[in-house]
């Protein structure tokens, strides 16, 4: 059997961190993506411009660079903010915010993939028949009701393949947080590999975990696809 030389529990806890990170950041990306897609189609010019800038810039810059910018830069920004607050409040408010690697990782990955999700959702919203939205309005539904009852359920069917792709890429991107110091599966495996001098012993199981997670979620998306395709005829 596989002998992880006592590093087994530590790498297992790293796997849990990876899974938590992926799930929380995909939730943030989902919400940002919905907001971005709605903003891209709104009548408000400022909202459209901001959403377009967001997706263009985020998708044009490497994840790792953005992660370092937000992680290292965020700390300095927070420090100068709390310093300003300290003097502005006549030295009454004295707080120190230390950015936690996990929170930084979740926020950054969520922020990055929100841009990809925006594009996925935008395409999916466009695929919803316009007549249906008009019908909803004719029934006297509010904008929110139209969104919740008509747009969202139909849009999801078109968006699912894109969401599935984004999720697979996101899962693999979580490995990058090991670079900014979060003790995820990759970092713990790297430390174990360095101290024992046996890289394959630790990296191959970790790669296996990623493959297993991919396979499990592929199955999950197949189930979801069935659910959201109810009432449509396969071409």
């Amino acid at each position: 059997m596989l002998d992880l030389q006592g590093y087994g529990p530590s790498i297992f806890s790293g796997a849990i961190v990876t899974i938590q990170l992926a799930i929380l950041s995909v939730a943030i990306a989902f919400i940002l993506g919905l907001l971005g897609a709605v903003a891209k189609q709104s009548d408000n010019r400022a909202a459209r411009t901001i959403a377009t800038l967001y997706t263009t810039i985020i998708r044009g810059v490497p994840d790792l660079v953005l992660m370092m910018l937000i992680f290292f830069g965020g700390q300095i920004a927070f420090n100068s903010f709390t310093e300003w607050l300290y003097y502005a409040s006549d030295e009454k408010i004295d707080i120190f915010i230390n950015i936690n690697e996990f929170v930084a990782g979740v926020v950054t990955i969520g922020f990055i993939f929100g841009a990809y999700m925006t594009e996925t959702f935008r395409g999916a919203f466009l695929a919803v028949d316009h007549g249906q939205i008009e019908a909803g309005k004719a029934y006297g539904m509010t904008k929110l009701q139209v969104f919740k009852r008509i747009m969202f359920p139909q849009m999801m069917r078109h968006a699912l393949p894109g969401i599935g792709n984004n999720w697979q890429v996101l899962l693999k991107t979580t490995a990058l947080v090991s670079v900014i110091g979060l003790a995820d599966m990759v970092r713990l495996a790297t430390e174990a590999a360095k101290s024992t001098g046996e890289p394959f012993l630790f990296f191959i199981p970790v790669a296996g975990v990623y493959l297993a997670l991919t396979a499990i979620t592929e199955w999950g998306f197949a189930v979801l696809k069935k659910r959201y395709s109810v009432g449509t005829v396969e071409a």
Binding site: I57, G60, V61, P62, D63, L64, V65, L66, M68, L69, F72, G73, I76, Q168, K172, T173, T174, A175, L176, S178, V179, V186, A189, T190, A193, K194, G197, E198, P199, F200, F203, I204, V206, A207, Y210, L211, T214, A215
Partner: protein, 237 residues
Amino acid sequence: MDALLALIDANKIFNLTTLAHYWDGLLMTVQLVFMSLLIGLIVSVPLAIMRTSKNRLINYPVWLFTYVFRGTPLLIQLYMIYYGVTLINGIQDSVFWVIFERAYYPCLIAFVLNTAAYTTEIFRGAIEATPKGEIEAAKAYGMNWFKRTTRIVLPSAFRRAIPAYSNEVIFMLHASAIASTVTIIDLTGAARDIYARYYAPFESFLFVAAIYLCITFTIIFIFKKLENRLLAHLQPR
């Protein structure tokens, strides 16, 4: 002009030394990305043909290769090759150490394998989308498998693959930032050095982000031109 010169004088971070450092990083990034894409492209063509084979013994190993390399993070692949090779007992005394002493070659190997896996799947999709009639016509002309593949299937598959391949090129550019984690001074590596030296994350990382953005736009522009030329017959009239 005076204002600009004053601005250059006033900033402590972007002096000639650091700009030269960024320039070296840019060269490294471009070289790494270009080499890995080129080798990956050459490797992926035979792999894609094998992948579309009906013989399981030929098809299955390639499927496994692409599944594993597309299903695991590039960072893991890089670490496995970088640490895997450098930690082998006795390699530091062998002749191979000349190659593996610098992180460049392990990194290039990891990138080539990764991009080859993605490109193989892109080509597979393009090859499988070849219209049946074209192949039948080629058969009717008496072409054998080799002639059909080189004259009919591959040229049209390459054209169909261009839009998806342009995404892969941009993906590879962004993925190359990972090289900085194994001591290579690419663009990101240069930014990390300058961040560490001046403790100026915004200046150093925003500057490289802007450079990456420019390269991305250049790639998109080139592929748009290429598509307009090579896919002109597929454009809506």
